[in-house]
């Protein structure tokens, strides 16, 4: 097993506020890793740094895509990061509301296709072939995620749980080797959460994609993850397997807290 993502001493300052403080994190091939911690601990900021939406103040982010050499991706624009094979979803759903479900996924194919302005205007053979391929590929992704019934619905008319899954589908369409999910189960009912659990496992097993997720639903986190990182005030306070984390006194004090006390 080798690291496909290695984050070293990542630091992010906003004005005088240190949102992320010397954070280390690594993900290996075909691994599901969870990032947990209280709200405001810097989890989403961490995602934004990795995916290029924020410029980290310090530290290194190194990716090693399967079969490719390692590369430092600090400060790369988001679209280049996606092109390198990192795709993400958002905590507060950010779909293209007035586009259809299929079109949303087709946008995901954008960075893997090439047709430009001229070929679109003159509808070259190449462009037509590519368009067909985009439609085909996008539809396949929708089938895998189980959204094929909604193909031509507008994204905004989808039920909540389906919108969350569409975000995953859209991210999948970019052919990533690492998928970053920001609270994928937020707002889902228990049934939907169970389906999500299956889906994430399937994505890992069948597509060989590694997954890094932020999540508050402990049941989901504990059952899914191979390893868990716990952050608080931008600092890593623990890392380990779900069982180790459950027992870790520092984590219980800072995050899991009274729930566990009460149970015991």
């Amino acid at each position: 097993m080798k690291d496909i993502l290695e984050v070293k001493k990542l630091t992010m300052d906003f004005g005088g506020l240190r949102a992320i403080d010397n954070l280390d994190l690594d993900i290996q091939e075909k691994e599901i890793v969870a990032l947990i911690g209280p709200n405001g601990a810097g989890k989403t900021t961490f995602f934004n740094c990795i995916t290029g939406l924020y410029q980290p103040t310090g530290g290194d982010i190194v990716i090693t895509p399967p079969g490719k050499p390692a590369e430092r991706i600090n400060g790369l624009k988001p679209n280049y990061v996606t092109q390198r094979g990192l795709a993400r979803t958002f905590q507060n759903i950010r779909l293209f509301q007035n586009m259809t479900v299929l079109e949303n996924v087709m946008i995901g194919r954008h960075c893997r296709t090439y047709a430009g302005v001229a070929s679109a205007m003159f509808k070259t053979a190449f462009q037509r072939r590519e368009e067909n391929k985009i439609v085909q590929d996008s539809y396949e992704v929708l089938e895998k995620i189980g959204l094929s019934e909604y193909v031509n619905e507008l994204a905004k008319n989808l039920p909540y749980g389906a919108q969350r899954r569409l975000e995953i589908a859209r991210a999948m369409a970019t052919d990533p080797f690492l998928l970053l999910l920001d609270e994928p189960a937020a707002g889902m009912n228990p049934q939907e959460t169970r389906e999500l659990d299956d889906l994430i496992i399937r994505i890992r097993d069948r597509e060989g994609i590694s997954i890094l997720l932020i999540e508050h639903d402990m049941k989901l986190v504990m059952s899914l993850s191979d390893r868990i990182f716990v952050v608080d005030y931008g600092r890593k306070i623990a890392q380990g397997t779900p069982d180790e984390i459950k027992e870790n006194p520092v984590v219980i004090k800072a995050y899991l807290g009274e729930d566990l006390d009460a149970q015991a």
Binding site: F14, T44, N48, L53, F90
Partner: protein, 303 residues
Amino acid sequence: MEHFQYFIELFLGGLTRGSIYALIALGYTMVYGIIQLINFAHGEIYMIGAFTSLIVAVVLTSLGFNQLSIIILASLIAVIYSSAYGYTIEKIAYKPLRNAPRLSALISAIGMSIFLQNYVQLAQTSDFVPFPSLIPDFDFVEPFAHIISTQEIIIILTTAVVMILLTILIKFTKIGKAMRATAQDREMALLTGVDVDLVISVTFIIGSATAAIGGFLIASHIGMINFYIGFIAGIKAFTAAVLGGIGSIPGAVLGGLVLGWTESFATGYISSDYEDVFAFALLVLILIFRPAGILGRTTAQKV
């Protein structure tokens, strides 16, 4: 020495001009601060203020009132009318769009601006109208009259007074606090019992009143008005507001002065043909390189 005097003249000219921009910019900044809308029709409010004061002044002169009462009544009525317009515009064109995309509100604002321009053009005239010079020259200004006129002094003083009053209003009064709260978090302001609709209306009224004062002063300063003065003045005042950092009261004044000086010196030392070009170029440069303005604060983009 001659050089220096020329410089002083340009400096004071810029100060006067900047004060006018500042007066209009205050309204822009207040409205933008509270509902994040570029009130395109604000320039038109100023134009209406100028026209109203002209009409009142002419009517009163023909009725034989004395000069002081004309000045007071004309500016007072202009303020009242402009405020009424500001209030109505908000109710018709912006309030129904409060939860719509910002683009819709902006287009609505442009529509309002076009409407008002043509309304005045149709109701009055499309020609330039001479504005009677109302403000008398004070004797004590006489020795300096070649550098600065009484009118200019009044313009500068008025701007200073208005700015100070507004700052006090916003910093220390209850409605001022409600305005700031509304600007920062409208829903939360509602939840503390603030009548947000009322606060927004008051903001429009105050903003319009300052614009009307500006309209009255500039009209008597330049001596000519037409229906189109609002557009250019509005754009420049907006530039001033952005320059100083939109949403900030002292920023608007500072921005107005900087813009006034830039124009004054640029036309004085470079070329008078491109006066407006300088203003627009400054606007473009500012927005590109420092969109938060001189006194503005940058806010991190939330993802």
